[in-house]
């Protein structure tokens, strides 16, 4: 009784989450939906006498793999959206047809089999769930598990090959960078100090405000040219900044 209640609740939750995973436009939502599906599966495993599998499902899939997905999404940028342009004409339509056809084939095929009354895991779990699994893993399937190590080493090595670039010259220290700045100053007169920050007035707290020099004039170095250009287009540019830009234009 408890099992079937759990099943029907989780079935609804996981199917809705799976649909959300497919149809959600934002990758992060899809990833979180996937997390919901995995957690529901874990609970279903636990209900069906497989506590070890349930724990592994949560620790490995929901814990590690999901976090990896999220890391990747965050690195790529949460807001970046996929290009949905069809590169092959009619691809989406035929993909949907083929997908639905495949699902129907599987559903009908598996639905049509005569499934005998479930035996449950009582026999397999005779010596306890974890010891029984351990026996299989360390005797019958020991070789498969040992060979998997080759896969893990390959994966680590591959990640190194594709992503790691060995530094061939020493990393410049603070001292080197500072020296280079002053060499530049000596040769071309380039200001070695950092650029002044934007000004903050009593009425503003924004980076598009220019900083004021001690004599009360505007410091041209503090004006962010990109923002100024946008503001000039919108017509919201402060007059003193516009004057500076004007002077620079004429100076060229």
């Amino acid at each position: 009784m408890g099992e079937s209640i759990t099943f029907w609740v989780l079935a609804v939750v996981s199917v809705i989450a799976a649909l959300g995973l497919v149809f959600s436009r934002r990758a992060v939502y899809s990833a979180l939906m996937l997390g919901v599906v995995m957690l529901s599966l874990a609970v279903l495993y636990a209900v069906q006498d497989a506590p070890f599998l349930a724990a592994v499902q949560i620790i490995v899939y929901t814990g590690a793999v999901m976090m990896l997905f999220l890391f990747v999404l965050m690195l790529v940028g949460v807001d970046s959206s996929d290009s949905l342009v069809e590169t092959i004409r009619g691809q989406r339509f035929w993909a949907i047809v083929a997908g639905l056809g495949f699902a129907a084939l599987l559903g009908l095929g598996i639905g049509n089999t005569l499934i005998a009354a479930p035996k449950g895991l009582a026999v397999a779990n005779q010596n306890g769930n974890v010891p029984s699994l351990a026996e299989l893993i360390f005797t019958r399937h020991v070789f498969a598990f040992e060979v998997t190590s080759a896969l893990l080493i390959t994966a680590a090595l591959g990640a190194m090959v594709l992503a790691h670039r060995e530094r061939t010259e020493p990393k410049p220290t603070q001292r080197d960078l500072s020296r280079a700045r002053f060499v530049e100053f000596g040769r071309h007169g380039k200001n070695p100090a950092p650029l002044p920050g934007p000004g903050t007035y009593a009425r503003h707290n924004a980076i598009d405000m220019p900083a004021l020099l001690p004599d009360g004039t505007v410091s041209p170095l503090s004006v962010n040219r990109v923002i100024a250009r946008h503001e000039a287009e919108e017509g919201t540019l402060a007059p003193e900044v516009a004057q500076i830009l004007q002077q620079e234009e004429e100076g060229k």
């Binding site: 351990a134 060979v147 190194m160």
Partner: protein, 518 residues
């Protein structure tokens, strides 16, 4: 705790060839970690070659001195039987030859992480940086290739499939020239390969649901005894078939092959075209004959169709190619079709099965050597920007370098199956088994497809010998000792197997005689 676990028995001596290869790969990784940069390739090359040679010697020793085992090893996970030992020997020799090719010239990118065309890449090239990780990766791939055809249950087969494929996905993307094409090839291969592995895994799950076991032998007994769940069996077998047919590049799952063969560094293409094909055929035959042997009335018509489609697609599309590597890729697809003819040629009698199997084994050896040789020749015909890939650049090669063009023409004739080359006896052995297995129409299609295929091989030969060389034609690089050895060995194998094939035919026959262990 009431039960104690019996320690598993693992026949280390039987598995030694595979363990040597994996062990050398791990040592190679340690070399990467601890040896200084200038020493690395000086250590890797002998380590890799010695381990492959040692594994080959162990395989021979096992077959000759200790006899062919009649029971699966490692608690029933790995079946080291006659066909498996023969395939191991073949793969090890082909891998050895491919490693000679890898070592030969600069085929690989200087720094894989540098964006193609960037200043970083130029700097890496200038410094002469190199990825010596290639050697351990190749060894891991070879280890997977050894395990795949010997896998006695579907779990080991799946793990082996991944161990074999993952390093190859990586190696595909490491070409030194035309890097964007190479990276595209790697991504395509990875995505499609992952997709096909998922099919394989789903099929495994359904077959487990049907038979209650993933052992090939137990699935085989369940095929006759479990009732009422046939759809599970059919869908599972079909999905398993998709995964396996993808790996051999049979139509309609052949789309990856031309792109990947074209983009990958040529020595890796040679390794894939020879070793991977051999391993995948070994696994295909084992799964279909041992695991699904009782189902042959159902899968035979499907494979019949797939074989015809593969031969026709491979032979016809090869005609339209202008890139030499793509042409060889389509030729490899067509040869996959010819080999599938042998897979169908099963019968009630054990002798029929043995003759079909020995035909397949001989064909794999013959084709493997020839294809490695052909790709080795491709590496030697160079333009300023790397290999001269466009077929028009090969025009008049026979007048510039008669020896090289002659060797290439000889390989092409072997692909076409002209008598006195190894290809002839390969096709003969497979087709003869198919005729006696009652698949005459298939053999007729095969012969017609061979004739079509011969057309484009001959077209290349005509292009090389009877057209005028371009003024700024490609240069023929002086081959390194490794490349020269590869070409020489391939020519030798193609000639010997074409003129005096009996010893290898006998060997294949005696390997096939015991069939697969169950």
């Amino acid at each position: 705790m009431n039960g104690t676990i019996q320690a598993p028995t693992i026949e280390y001596a039987l598995l030694a060839p595979m363990l040597v290869v994996f062990g050398a790969a791990i040592v190679g990784v340690l070399v990467e970690a601890f040896a200084p940069r200038y020493l690395r390739s000086a250590i890797h090359v002998p380590l890799t070659l010695l381990s492959l040679a040692g594994a080959f010697a162990l395989t021979i020793w096992q077959a000759a001195a200790k006899g062919i085992p009649t029971k699966a090893a490692a608690m029933g996970a790995v079946a080291v039987d006659g066909p498996a030992l023969f395939i191991w020997g073949t793969i090890l020799v082909l891998a050895f030859v491919s490693v000679l090719l890898i070592k030969g010239e600069d085929h690989f990118v200087a720094a894989a992480s540098a964006v193609p065309g960037s200043a970083e890449e130029e700097q890496a090239l200038h410094e002469g940086a190199a990825h010596s990780e290639i050697y351990p990766l190749v060894l891991f791939a070879v280890g997977g290739m050894l395990l795949f055809p010997a896998a006695n249950d579907l779990l080991v087969a799946f793990v082996a499939l991944e161990v074999m494929s993952l390093p190859l996905y990586l190696l595909c993307g490491l070409a030194r020239r035309r890097r964007l094409l190479s990276q595209e090839a790697a991504v395509k291969y990875f995505l499609l390969g992952a997709f096909s592995s998922a099919f394989f895994l789903y099929g495994t799950a359904l077959l487990y649901g049907y038979a209650g076991s993933i052992d090939l032998a137990k699935i085989s007994t369940a095929v006759g005894s479990v009732g009422g769940q046939d759809t599970l069996l059919y869908i599972g077998a079909a999905m398993l078939g998709v995964g396996l047919l993808f790996k051999i590049g049979a139509a309609p799952f052949q789309a990856w092959k031309p792109d990947v063969y074209q983009g990958a560094p040529t020595p890796i293409t040679a390794l894939m075209a020879s070793g991977t094909l051999v391993a995948a055929f070994g696994a295909l035959v084992r799964v279909f004959w041992v695991g699904l042997g009782g189902l042959d009335w159902d899968w035979r018509p499907v494979l019949y169709g797939v074989a015809i489609l593969t031969m026709v697609v491979g032979a016809v599309l090869a005609i339209t190619q202008t890139d030499i590597k793509r042409m060889l890729a389509y030729s490899s697809i067509a040869h996959g079709g010819f080999l599938l003819v042998g897979v169908i040629a099963t019968g009630k009698a054990a002798a029929q099965n043995a003759s079909a199997l020995s035909g397949i084994l001989f064909y794999l050896v013959a084709y493997g050597f020839t294809t490695v040789g052909a790709f080795a020749v491709v590496t030697m015909v160079r333009d300023a920007g790397g290999e001269a890939w466009h077929l028009s650049r090969w025009a008049g090669l026979g007048k510039r370098s008669p020896l090289l063009a002659g060797i290439f023409a000889f390989f092409l004739l072997a692909f076409a199956g002209i008598p006195l080359t190894s290809g002839f006896f390969g096709k003969y052995a497979v087709f003869q088994a198919a005729v006696s297995g009652g698949a005459l129409p298939l053999v007729i299609v095969g012969v017609v497809a061979s004739a079509v295929a011969a057309f484009f091989y001959v077209r290349v030969i005509v292009l090389m010998f009877f057209s005028d060389p371009a003024a700024d034609g490609p240069s023929i690089v002086l081959p390194s000792r490794g490349t020269a050895a590869v070409v020489g060995l391939a020519v030798l194998a193609t000639v010997v197997l074409g003129v005096y094939p009996q010893p290898v035919l006998d060997l294949a026959h005696s390997a096939a005689q015991s069939l697969f262990v169950r």
